[in-house]
Point group: C2
């Protein structure tokens, strides 16, 4: 039995997230149907994570075991023929038998992107958060630095039954940078709680508004209380950038 | 009577071009309705050009005369409240009485953008042409250089009753550059014939395919025969970048 790792990218604007659900179109459903058409076999697919409605992925990893004889390097092109234009498969490789897209994952990088201009960007509708007031990216970068390290991130998690258990995660990178009118918050960790990046971003924007100062971040982490952090920002600015194995 | 110049940007993917028409949604119709709501006056609006279905604009200029007392700097924000997210007004200025968005225009810059990769870009669906085979941008840049100067561009024009008359135009810039997986053809001229940039791009891609060589371009221009040039490439890669007054 072969074990394949497929990497895809998708524009999440038209989908109700990754995970299959009744009565709503998801990336998983569309991908599975294309895979079934190509390998003529219904397989159990494992994914690196879930993404919420409207969230995007520049790299999203899927593994599955198959009896199919299709060459790994041919699979992306075959699948892309059966996928809509907002989902693209860009690689496929053979993995060892015990590889699992979710359990073998050692970490992920997310980006939250903000269009910081008085005028919205008509080309990035549903692909960026529009924020009108001039952002002080250095101040936000100072605040983001406090996310680094191993912490209990309960304050940065929407309660959900998935998250009962250990709420500690190790953040190895957290920075805010400006690229013209874009302000990008990039964060890497060994794992993420539900809505963690969107709540972190909402908290950074509270610092921008002057309602918090950078040094408040350690106190919010310590409080382990969702109410102390900022709001959950909308999904359209969130990108799963990279998955580490 | 004031004469105002308004600059907008739009994502043309959802529109049947700029110019108002029956039974199809156009940018002009949407813009005019927003303007009517804001200034409470039906005005005759002049535009720098038309764009075709699916073509985009990073800068598109509109002028109109009005009795409205609204301050020029307030108008963009007022209009943006009534416009969909794929159309954005970014400036408004007072002009002299004889200014006309079309007749005062001295030139325009267009870009045709190509995603040059074996894998399509899911984020640029309807915003770029996907071209699979590796493009030699230096060769295409050499070919594009032959467009420079004042020529009769009949070979690069879809016949249309608008274009009866002088077919000469002066191209002051024509270059092909690569930016990662994007290949961009940028062309500036004092005016453009119907489909001129899309036929120029189709002809450059014939050079890529080896069916033409760069030195064929002057011969195609000289022929004044549409059949000698390459095909009209699809609209989704075309951007009106700048308008010069």
């Amino acid at each position: 039995m072969r074990n394949l790792l497929v990497k895809i990218a998708y524009d999440g604007a038209s989908y109700h997230g990754w995970q299959i659900q009744e009565n709503a179109l998801t990336v998983q459903e569309v991908f599975q149907n294309a895979l079934h058409t190509v390998i003529d076999e219904r397989v159990d697919i494992k994914a690196c994570s879930r993404t919420d409605t409207g969230v995007h992925a520049r790299e999203f990893c899927i593994s599955f075991k198959t009896e199919s004889k299709i060459e790994a390097e041919r699979l992306p092109f075959a699948l892309n023929n059966y996928l809509p234009r907002d989902i693209a498969v860009f690689s496929c490789e053979e993995k060892e038998e015990d590889f699992h897209a979710r359990y073998s994952c050692r970490g992920k990088e997310y980006a939250y992107e903000i269009w910081n201009s008085k005028i919205r960007n008509p080309f990035l509708d549903r692909h960026i958060l529009h924020y009108w007031y001039k952002i002080d990216e250095n101040k936000l970068n100072e605040a983001a630095g406090h996310f680094m390290g191993r912490h209990d991130f309960s304050s940065f998690c929407t309660l959900d039954k998935r998250d009962i258990g250990d709420m500690r995660r190790t953040v190895t990178e957290a920075r805010v940078e400006r690229a013209g009118e874009k302000v990008i918050f990039t964060v890497t960790a060994d794992g993420f709680l539900y809505n963690m990046v969107r709540i972190m971003t909402g908290t950074l924007l509270r610092v921008q508004e002057g309602k918090l100062v950078p040094d408040d971040i350690p106190l919010i982490i310590e409080a382990k209380n969702r109410a102390k952090a900022g709001p959950t920002v909308p999904p359209e600015g969130l990108y799963l950038n990279k998955v580490f194995y």
